[in-house]
């Protein structure tokens, strides 16, 4: 017994190091699983509060640019509205009765990150605004990511600039589907994998969301094809996709909730059983 106590006292520095290091290692490993720990993330009260204060000061400095982006979007939406109202007259479908499928919430980004290999954003809406895990996040230009953790007032978003992110996407011209991933290098370029070599791929074509998952609706634009190559197996293309969004410079975002999501998930899980 005496010897054990002596041993502990003699090696107390090493033991403390071992303890602290394993705690840190455990947190790291936890952070590499898809949905991370509730404890260490910037959606909690402490860091969320600090980030919200900093952001509220910071946002005055690019009001003008934000205004311009919003004005552009307004213009585009107005154009679409005008075109749409013409179309609905001719089609004769009663649009009032058709059910609403998506609910959109406006939010703002507090903390952006794009230089690491696993990037997360923090936004200023949370449980109180009925934001939940796995809602889609987009801007007026393209997709941003998927809601990961939520607290009462804040939420973290798994950015598309994250090695864990896999998003269903397709070619706009031909409906060939693949998954959008990121190799960790440039924040402007993501990769679209598993596109069949039968697909008519051209540099400059548009990539948009495929709508197969219950997170993003179909047809939200992502980016354009920068270059492409066949992967090792020779059956599929890997495309380099240049994002429409400048991920290093985003503030206003929209959160999309798919209202039929539970129905879809229940249906799909019943197949597996």
């Amino acid at each position: 017994m005496q010897q054990i106590i002596n041993f502990v006292i003699r090696n107390k520095t090493f033991l403390l190091f071992l303890l602290l290091f394993s705690v840190a290692l455990a947190l790291t490993i936890q952070s590499h699983s898809y949905h991370r720990s509730k404890f260490i993330n910037s959606a909690n009260v402490l860091s969320g509060g600090v980030y919200s204060t900093v952001s509220s000061i910071d946002k005055y400095f690019d009001l003008e640019k934000e205004n311009k982006i919003l004005a552009e979007e307004n213009k585009r939406l107005r154009e679409r509205l005008l075109n749409n109202s013409n179309a609905s007259h001719t089609s004769g479908i009663d649009t009032i009765l058709s059910e609403k499928k998506y609910r959109i919430t406006i939010a703002e980004i507090f903390k952006n990150s794009y230089s690491r290999t696993n990037n997360y954003l923090t936004i200023n809406k949370g449980n109180k605004d009925s934001i939940k895990q796995d809602f889609g996040v987009i801007t007026s230009k393209g997709i941003v990511g998927i809601v990961d953790n939520t607290s009462d007032n804040y939420a973290t978003v798994l950015s598309i600039l994250n090695k864990k992110s896999r998003i269903n996407a397709k070619l706009k011209s031909s409906d060939h589907k693949g998954s959008l991933t990121w190799d960790g290098n440039s924040p402007f370029i993501t990769q679209l994998e598993d596109i069949s070599t039968f697909a008519p791929v051209k540099v400059g074509d548009t990539i948009e969301t495929g709508g197969e998952s219950a997170i993003f609706p179909k047809g939200i634009s992502i980016g354009t094809i920068e270059s492409f190559e066949t992967d090792i197996s020779g059956d599929t293309y890997t495309l380099q996709v240049k994002l429409f969004n400048d991920m290093t410079n985003i503030r206003s975002i929209y959160i999309i909730e798919h209202l039929d999501k539970n129905e879809i998930i229940n249906l799909e899980s019943s197949i597996d059983e």
């Binding site: 602290l20 947190l27 490993i29 910037s42 990150s113 290999t117 696993n118 960790g184």
Partner: protein, 118 residues
Amino acid sequence: MILLLTSFLLGLLIDIFSDSGGVHAAAAVSLAYIRPILLKSSFGTLYEHQSVKFRNTEPGSLITYLILGTLPHHLILFSLEIFNISSILLILKKTLFSSIFTIILSLIIIILFSRNKK
């Protein structure tokens, strides 16, 4: 002992704010743990006599100390962050360039602040 604990807390604070699990905490704790070895190997006998003063060290041994401290810290940081042995090249690349930047930054800070105190 206290150094270990404070470095852990410092690392954890960075981690909480930057959504990175326990990456910084792990790197900071290991740096604090190997610090005596680094001091001994870069300052030699001076350290054993407990007479290292930050202001009157030779620039050469100070730079050695900086490099020896920065490289392992960044290596641990990036290998835990990327956590994938197959992207070892990316880890080494990031370690190299971030270390160069960190060392230059630390030297600038040391030069600026030691001038003030004279």
